[in-house]
Subunit: 347 residues, 2 copies
């Protein structure tokens, strides 16, 4: 019998993240270790990764991500987990270099070959990123979890941080939304994996936009974040808050998979749909035209979602043109305006 | 009611590691990503951490470790997990700089305050190491797991790798053995945590031997490894194999906690005692004088165990003198001899 990984866990992928509000409570009273010289970005602004400056020319971009299976195929799961972890380095403008594996596996249930397939999926994506797998840690656990700690390099002057979105920028999203609801449908076995091919391919895709843009175009990207567990509105509002701006996003412009609205319409939801709603409640406003399904879409927790790029208005078309072949669905989804009382308007 | 963390998990600490033989089967057929320029040490020699060279003067030391509670106090658990993860950087001769947290927690069972205490214990140890906490990832999971991904810096010419132990070296162990059996006793609630104070303090202690040695003394350390889940013989045989030498270790010289032999004698064992035995079976020989309890000790899986240092014979006394105040029990446990058919003789 072929093992169906999603049936071995209660909730999958980024939907299993600790909800942002709970995280805030846990971290609230924590006395953090002092910030040492060289640390230029830490967790304070919800950036995707940390920046540690080694010299005037070199900084480390560091991130870590892991989760439970969101697809049944072990190979695809490993590939998605790797692409998802590597994404945070790309979201900071960095180039991934070294990866360490985080593996928790039920040894009594999963054959070594299954675990090896997970690692192979990850290894192939790491190879594609031009990085190496240099170590890791594995434990025997009740349910499968896999992910990576990734270190990349970036020039300290060329980091895409959350706080530099500029009024007048266009917002580009590089992958369709909907992986949360589609994976929920697969987990319920209401959606066959063969129908979810586009979503699975998208989750396995590296967010290596740098590889397809000219230095000029890269210079027009002012800020970036990748859309993962907190959904478009969660990550969007973090970017808005850090930059002191307000994002205006068009609900009808949002790229989706063929299956996305079907799955949302069927009520294939995760706990994160609700917690992302709660998290952004006081920071987001919905236009009167926005439908209930579009609201759910904006809360949909993405696994290995696309980058949300804040780019100078005049460069947006060229960047989309350059990316579209490799990132199907890439389009302008909104713009950056002066700070109002809220972080994001979905209109 | 105060929560007893060890009662929330089936097995704790490094004892929950995937057994070395299973790991070998999983990794055996894996097609790893290519090793990119700069990667000087990866997993191939079972080194404690990876080395990635950034320039002629700077290399990264990278490691990652996490596990389930081995003590009941959330603060102590966090502190131990942090010291254990940081240890691998010290074992390579490096200085820790950035840490990222790996957290899996049962949100329905553990209050935020408990999770915060875990993070506080870790934060305080990270601060003591002079490093920063720059990020991490947290998921909702059935059982608590915590650890760190750590990056340190080291001069590329001053790395303590596994493969440079020299014939004639003395072997120094910097912490007493026995945390595996003592933690097993605590988990069974047969050993009260108040009696295990020395072992808990030892596990919380940083392996920062560098901070107490002169550059001359540091130059006399040819190879090092930290003793963790695979026990003294497991990690010892990895070092022997990598260096092409044989270790001769004296069973009576091994430093232990007051409780160690009592706990081993009571049969407080973990699965790792057996799997470490299996792992080293064909690579280790026991002298006729070695007792059954000493054999068990040599397989005892350590959590945040000491460093095994291979140092030039004439420097051993000075190094022990310099370390003894901060590392109670530090002593010579054996020596390095020319390669024979086996990796380690316990005599």
């Amino acid at each position: 019998m072929t093992i169906k990984l999603t049936q071995t866990v209660k909730k999958g992928g980024c939907a299993a993240k600790v909800p942002a509000l709970v995280l805030r409570e846990i971290l609230g009273g924590l006395r953090f270790p002092p910030v040492i010289p060289g640390v230029e970005v830490d967790g304070a602004n919800f950036d995707d990764a940390a920046i540690f400056k080694i010299s005037d020319d070199v900084a480390l971009v560091q991130t870590l991500d892991f989760f439970t299976p969101i697809v049944d195929s072990p190979y695809d799961f490993g590939a998605i987990a790797a692409a998802n972890a590597l994404s945070d380095v790309y979201a900071m403008g960095g180039t991934p270099k070294t990866c360490m594996a985080i593996l928790a596996a039920p040894l009594a249930v999963l054959e070594p070959a299954v675990i090896q397939a997970v690692l192979q999926g990850a290894s192939d994506v790491i190879a594609q990123a031009g990085a190496s797998l240099v170590g890791g840690h594995s434990i025997d656990d009740d349910t499968l979890k896999f992910g990576l700690s990734v270190t990349g390099l970036v020039h300290p002057q060329k980091v895409w941080i959350n706080s530099l979105a500029q009024v007048g920028d266009k917002l580009i999203l590089t992958k369709p939304l909907g992986t949360g609801t589609i994976c929920a449908g697969m987990k319920r076995q209401d959606i066959d994996e063969s129908r979810a091919h586009a979503a699975i391919s998208s989750m396995k895709r590296l967010n290596n936009v740098q590889d397809f843009l000219t230095p000029d175009e890269l210079g027009q990207i002012h800020a970036a974040t990748d859309i993962t567990g907190f959904g478009l509105l969660g990550h969007g509002s973090q970017l808005a808050k850090a930059s002191g701006v307000t994002l205006h996003i068009s609900a009808t412009a949002l790229p989706v998979f063929d299956l996305t609205y079907e799955c949302l319409g069927q009520g294939f939801l995760t706990k994160a749909h609700r917690s992302n709603d709660e998290y952004t409640q006081k920071r987001v406003s919905f236009g009167t035209q926005v439908t209930e399904l579009q609201k759910l879409l904006s809360f949909d927790p993405q696994t290995s979602g696309g980058l949300l790029l804040s780019v100078s208005a005049q460069s947006a078309d060229g960047i989309i043109e350059a990316l579209r072949d490799h990132f199907p669905g890439t389009c302008v989804v909104g713009e950056v305006r002066a700070k109002s009382s809220l972080d994001v308007y979905l209109e």
